[in-house]
């Protein structure tokens, strides 16, 4: 997962290295480091923003090692879902148990329906919906859409998925 972290360093040499070493030792992948040397917190420390990718079970270790090194952590923000997808559904979406359709995706643990727009023109006419799905990776998004297509087939719903943006790259 991707973690964004605001830390505070004492204004003495070698502090940044102390902050970055635990990330590298625990096999994290450092994405960006923004070092605001000209700024000071009210505590007189220097604010630094780190962004890195790390296995979820290693995050606590990083936090404790940073604390052992005397580095203050002001904020931790973890983000699980990197991939965002949209699909359109057409058919009797509500009457075929929309809750069940959404649950099937949500229950996977790797993808969630995060937005739903529904348009129901008239009773007995097909409804249309746009669904936004977030997933932990591109592969997981693909599996979630495949799963959705399977349920849709049982419920006689048409699923319209996006083309692959990178033309033809599979």
């Amino acid at each position: 997962m991707r973690v964004s972290m605001d830390i505070e360093l004492k204004d003495i040499p070698g502090q940044l290295l102390l902050a970055l070493r635990p990330v590298s030792e625990l096999k994290g992948n450092l994405i960006s480091v923004v070092h605001h040397h000209e700024k000071r917190t009210p505590r007189g420390t220097i604010p630094v923003q780190l962004v890195f990718e790390i296995k979820p079970d290693k995050l606590n270790d990083i936090v404790s090692r940073l604390e052992e090194n005397g580095i203050g952590i002001a904020r931790i923000d973890e983000k699980r879902f990197f991939e965002h997808g949209a699909v359109i559904l057409i058919g009797h979406i509500v009457h075929t148990d929309i809750q069940d359709t959404i649950d099937t995706i949500d229950k996977t643990g790797y993808a969630e329906v995060v937005d739903l727009n529904l348009s129901m023109p008239k009773i007995n006419m097909a409804s249309s919906a746009s669904l936004k799905i977030d997933a932990v990776s591109k592969e997981h998004l693909d599996s979630a859409i495949t799963l959705l297509k399977e349920i849709a087939r049982e419920k006689d719903l048409l699923v319209i998925e996006p083309i692959k943006i990178e033309l033809g790259v599979n």
Partner: protein, 331 residues
Amino acid sequence: MKTISVSIIGFGAVGQGVAKVLVDKKEYLENLGLDFKVVAVADSRTAAIDENGVDLNAVLSRKQDEGVVGSEKLTGLEIIETIDHDVVVETTPTNIVTGGVGLQNMLAAFKHGRDVVTSNKGPLAMKYGELMEAASEGGSNFKYEATVGGAMPVLNLAKDVLAGNSITNVEGIFNGTCNYILTRMMEEHASYEQMLAEAQELGYAETDPTYDVEGIDTACKLVILANCVFGMNATHEDVTVSGITRITPEALLLAQNEGYVIKLIGEVNDSRINVAPKLVPIDHPLAVGGSLNVASVQTDLSGPITVTGRGAGSVETASAILSDMISIYRD
């Protein structure tokens, strides 16, 4: 000057287009050193035959006025078998169940060692392997650019122009009727039924639109691409197909709010041949409107190459046929 004797078998919109471009481009062709002499023209009922060259203008106006091309009672097949000539321009209507008369015409042409240039998808989508074998046994050239995407060059692009590249994927809009209906549904926020009726009134859709709107026409073109470009031996039964009849104006609007248009997309690569409505980002090269066709060819060396153009029309389709004819006989 090289004189090539030609028969035009099938004299609907495309056959007539071929006759028109041969008349209009006479001087252009002479500059290339080519003289295409049409020795026979046949429609489904009659034929016009002249070994010194049929008067194409006269045939065109007779077809216009009387609905027939001539007074002879020879069929296309009889012409191919009995009249000596070099190339058969096969423009009879597509039949995807049996391959229709087109298949018989092509096989007969190869048996007599004649070259074939065609716009007829049916035989190629049904019996690709058999046709290729017959062409090679007859020592015949066989060209069919006009079967996929009308005026838009796809087959020759992938096979000749991009030679040296491996093609990994071809994706695009191969049916102008569906593109027209979907584009208009979005513009007018109107139902599928309303815009189908408009397309029929304007002549963009047939009275029985099944072949276009259910994705069958696109599927046939993908089969030809799969066989010609990817070396498969597929038929239209190998294609997973879903058409556009269930698309609603509400779905188009919801898609638009997310930055997408809905298009009937055909896709072919090593692992699948698929026709389905897909979401295409509004600013993507495949998001062309109106009745246009578009194809994006993914290559290993050149990356994606995208072409767009008119997928149907009499003279437009004839241009693809003419280009095939020239490529066979130009040195």
